[in-house]
């Protein structure tokens, strides 16, 4: 084995292993074996911002990672040009391959038949797979996913309703109605509690597509999503993960319970990266925070369309791994986010919410104002990262978790 392969494998692991407990804690075992140090998550007198120094450190690490990604995103075009120029002499095949790869990584349209084919298949899967997930939930006496177990008194109705909705979805019939029913069902899911309903936020991303489909959907072959649909799918999906990340810190016992039941998840390289420099005597507490921040970061990237394809592929691969390797059949509802992430990863209609910043820095660059351009890029990246991470992390230290016991 060459030296490059183990390195590549480690990088792969670094990206694939994180978030082993992503958004599924409620349908795997999660009983806390030992209590956490609650004071770690609360106000910490005498420390900067009143936050535990380890928490502060992890917040800072997350800010650095997010800012780095934002900077690379904003300067991706010059980097891409430099790389493509570097391979000019390498032959047409290499040039073309590098160009396709660069287009893929930088979220530009990819002109390739295989890419189109996967994209079309991804959309078909995305639109139909909720039908299978609903059938699975119905067969397991639950609503939408196993986080919502049904009461024996009402289960017959809910199971039949899910089966009917699944048939409509699988036959692509009356999709706007399907979308409305999914949204209505999500509203009803709040009956299990607002925090539990947040688990199902990603389900709303497919509802967006259904709602914006024509009534005659059964007569159409839908293999492509419009720019508007892709934008709203990534906004809802990304927001779902972003919110679930913060909820992991708020509801820390639930996440720590998963680690207590599956201790191997504590040795997660990506999460360790975010916990770099934090007090190792609070191993479980640091794991909860760094793991949550990893989810916040990935959710934010998806939501804003920053390296959307890269993050979508990473997350789809991670969910697939969770399903096939870590937790098995119980993870089958994750076919749903896999479908959504595949559909957006292989779409050629991607946009980014950071576009206004790009316009500003591009104008400064064209005017030859390099310092101004650098200030816009650096300021936007760091400012954005600070605003995304710290206010919420700080606010969470004030929250009372007494109702979670």
């Amino acid at each position: 084995m060459t030296g490059a392969w183990p390195r590549a494998r480690h990088v792969g692991l670094l990206l694939l292993v994180p978030a082993v407990a992503l958004a599924h804690e409620r349908f795997i075992r999660h009983q806390l074996k030992q209590p956490l140090h609650d004071e770690f998550f609360r106000r910490y007198p005498g420390a900067f911002l009143g936050m535990h120094p380890a928490m502060l450190r992890m917040g800072l690490n997350a800010v650095i990672v997010l800012a780095a990604f934002a900077v690379v995103w904003l300067v991706r075009h010059p980097i891409d040009e430099a790389i493509e120029r570097a391979v000019v002499g390498a032959g047409r095949g290499v040039q073309h391959a590098v160009h396709l790869l660069a287009c893929f990584v930088t979220d530009r349209p990819v002109r390739n038949r295989v890419f189109y084919a996967i994209g079309q298949w991804g959309v078909i899967m995305f639109l139909r797979v909720p039908g299978l997930v609903l059938m699975y939930s119905a067969a397991n006496n639950s609503l939408v996913m196993p986080s919502y177990p049904l009461d024996p008194k009402t289960e017959f109705f809910f199971k039949m309703a899910q089966a009917a909705l699944a048939v409509l979805i699988l036959t692509q019939t009356l999709l706007p109605l399907c979308g409305a029913l999914l949204v209505g069902t999500w509203i009803y899911l709040n009956r299990w509690g607002w925090m539990v309903a947040a688990d199902a936020l990603p389900v709303l991303s497919v509802a967006v597509v259904y709602l914006s489909s024509p009534w005659e959907s059964h007569k159409l072959t839908i293999t492509d999503l419009s720019e508007w649909q892709v934008r709203w799918v990534r906004l809802t999906l990304g927001f779902g993960f972003f919110a679930l990340g913060w909820l992991k810190i708020y509801n820390h016992d639930l996440v720590a319970g998963v680690a207590d039941q599956y201790p191997s998840v504590l040795d997660d390289p990506m999460v360790k990266l975010l916990a770099f420099g934090a007090d190792p005597s609070f191993k479980r507490e640091c794991w909860v925070v760094s793991f949550a921040l990893a989810e916040v970061l990935s959710g934010f990237m998806v939501m804003t369309g920053t390296f959307l394809r890269v993050w979508s592929v990473i997350m789809a691969a991670m969910f697939t791994k969770l399903m096939l390797v870590d937790f098995g059949w119980n993870e089958i509802p994750h076919l749903f986010p896999i479908g959504a992430l595949t559909a957006i990863a292989f779409s050629s209609r991607l946009t980014s919410e950071l576009r206004p910043v790009e316009v500003l820095e591009g104008r400064a660059g064209r005017d030859g104002k390099r310092l101004r351009q650098a200030a816009i890029i650096g300021g936007a990246a760091v400012g954005l990262a600070l605003v995304v991470i710290f206010p919420m992390l700080f606010a969470l230290t004030f929250t009372d978790r007494a109702n979670l016991r």
């Binding site: 795997i28 999660h30 067969a139 006496n141 177990p149 409305a180 209505g184 509203i187 299990w192 509690g193």
Partner: protein
Amino acid sequence: MHFASPRQLAWMALAWALFLIGYDQHANPRPLSTYWAEFKGSATRPNVVSEGDTPRVKLSMPHVCCTGCLNDIRAALKSLTWLAPARLAVEPPATESAEALARDSTAHEIEFDILDVTKADFVTLDQTMRDVGLAPDRMEVSGMGHFRLDVELPHLCCKVCSRSVDEQLERLLRKETQGRWFDSMTMNHVKKTVTIYARMNAVVDVLELTTALAHAGFTAHSIRVLTGPES
């Protein structure tokens, strides 16, 4: 091509949500304040067990034709102090009139509250029923939210036995329960026990567990309920 207007979509979604809430309220009537409490206090797990629910066990008896059968059951189960008195939705007819009434079905469901979960042992319960000469076809345990069953397997004499349980029981349980309540299991070779984790708020049929054990070639010495954190 016709598309739904935002107003139509909003109305459809809202109407469906209200319908579901209404149906839920119809099936499980509760004050509106309970909904707010449920919404606010999502805690770490959903609660589908109604307010005031207690641990209980329900026996589905294919044959309880008259008060004679029922009295035998009641008398036998008196010795199990962890069980509250039996409750039946419909009392069977008196022995004298049973023949005259000649109902098509003699099946009854008998429900018991579990007064002391720590003392509950479903092997004893099953055995007591069999001593009467009657057998339930389902023994459903519920009302405890998150719980696990501690199964004592006295015959685990060697590594082959342990491996056999390890390799077969999980597969058999998944087949037997069809994903209804079984979550996962862990084995303790030293203590000769298997801990069966039930899904949250699940209704667990203990007889499905004993059937799976029998198919694996084992019988349990005791099946007890454990709640709360694991030590």
